[in-house]
């Protein structure tokens, strides 16, 4: 597709993101977890080597999931299978494309492979989702060809505060653009570090040209509904499910909460008897170098 003459992702790829709206995309590390996720009503699963909470705890270099694991997950899942590649690691992305992964997440959760450049997403026949912390970052990724944006939050923290911060930044950034006059948009594009054509499009439409989902810190049904009420169109749940005491039950409750996000009676009902959530982290106490959200340029 194009906006104001600038190429963005193909309509069929943005379309797949549209099909995932109102759904939950769950992080899984093996076929057994993928089955639990699908049975709970996940709209898609994300294959990765370790969930973010373990990456945070164990340290080391976090890479694309093992090919064998991805294939096992593809075998059991009837829903789309996503997988993560390191920022800038276009060869991991080539491998994921060859495997027929349905969506590639160029993710800050993995250790970046390039400190300056993201992947040229137009070079692939499969769509990409990328993280952002604000509107400028979202528009840079869309300009590179991302078919879906997710706000980053702080993966593996079980703390919703960063996800809220990033969603609010994107939503208020969009709202601000709609109040500017045409003569103000070029300077605004410069401030945002974003393509002028996209800035003009968003100023007029009042939304991003691709779906905007939320990730990083969702641990409860209430967290999922909070992000939906703040403007997310679907949610990613990473460590929140498989680091809790009863993953199947919690996964199902988060799916219900995402669909019925405006209905407090439903939210109260699904929040009952969930077992223990994952243990959360106070993100304001994390050192700058421990943050995953600052990866990406």
């Amino acid at each position: 597709m194009d906006v104001n003459g600038l190429r963005i992702a193909d309509r069929k790829h943005i379309g797949l993101a549209e099909m995932l709206k109102g759904g939950v995309i769950m992080d899984v590390t093996n076929a057994e977890q993928a089955k639990i996720a699908e049975d709970a009503g996940a709209a898609s699963v994300m294959a990765l080597e370790r969930v973010p909470a373990d990456i945070r705890k164990e340290g080391g270099v976090a890479r694309m999931a093992a090919v064998k694991k991805i294939k096992e997950i593809q075998q059991v899942a009837t829903i789309p299978v996503m997988a993560k590649a390191r920022i800038g690691h276009f060869v991991e992305a080539q491998i994921l494309e060859a495997l027929g992964v349905d969506f590639i997440d160029e993710s800050e959760v993995l250790t970046p492979a390039d400190e300056h450049f993201h992947i040229d997403k137009f070079a692939f026949r499969v769509p990409f989702v990328c993280g952002c912390r604000d509107l400028g970052e979202a528009l840079r990724r869309i300009g590179e060809g991302a078919a879906m944006i997710r706000t980053k939050g702080e993966a593996g923290s079980g703390n919703i505060v960063e996800a809220v911060r990033h969603m609010r930044a994107v939503v208020s950034g969009i709202r601000r653009l709609t109040t500017l006059g045409p003569e103000e948009l070029m300077a605004e594009a410069k401030t945002l570090g974003a393509p002028y054509e996209l800035v003009r499009w968003v100023a007029k439409a009042g939304k991003l040209p691709v779906p905007n989902f939320s990730a990083g810190g969702i641990a409860t049904p209430a967290d999922a509904a909070l992000m939906m009420q703040l403007g997310a169109e679907a949610v990613f749940v990473g460590s929140g499910i498989f680091k809790s005491s009863d993953p199947a039950k919690r996964a199902k409750a988060i799916v219900q909460a995402t669909t019925h996000f405006k209905d407090p009676d439903v939210l109260a009902r699904v929040s009952e008897e969930l077992g223990e959530p994952m243990v959360g982290l106070e993100t304001s106490k994390l050192a700058e170098k421990e943050l995953l959200q600052t990866r990406g340029w």
């Binding site: 549209e18 009503g41 829903i79 992964v101 669909t259």
Partner: protein, 200 residues
Amino acid sequence: MTENEVRIGVLALQGDFALHAKALVRCGAEAVEVRKPAELATCDGLVIPGGESTTLLKLMDEWGFVPAIEKFHAEGKPIFGTCAGLIVLAREVENPRQFSLGLIDVTVERNAYGRQRESFEASGAARLDGPPAPLEMVFIRAPRIRRVGPGVEPLAEHRGEPVLARQGTVLVATFHPELTEDTAVHRYFCDLVRRAQAAA
């Protein structure tokens, strides 16, 4: 009758329901998001959108949508399903075999072209009310209609296979008219709803 008199529900459990609602409004209908079966009572027609059929079925089951939609259909109210919506409405589903409502006599194979890498766009022609009109089609991890029962009328084809079909008040598409600017298929469905409402 003014155009605004039809009220069409869009099943909003999961999927691209908002795009369907937008297309319906552009056709002069009132569109309402449906998340609980009781909300069907005030609707004259229903759209089951694209999304993930596995997910949709689970969410439908949880809220007792299966008997509610069967009743809606028995009352003569039109239903339009795209992609996952078609899978939910079909008589039989393959790859894998799964439960479906059986409101249109077709057999559907899920993800029949392959994964997202194999998703594609094509142009064709639709035989709606009038001469064949050009049709833009976006296929996303799309199903294929493998068998069409005697009461089913194919309305458009891609490579000789039906991709848009109708049986009585049930309309189905394997592609996504709601992703394009062309509202011809939604207009056709709105007309079905208006006729059914006038006949009731």
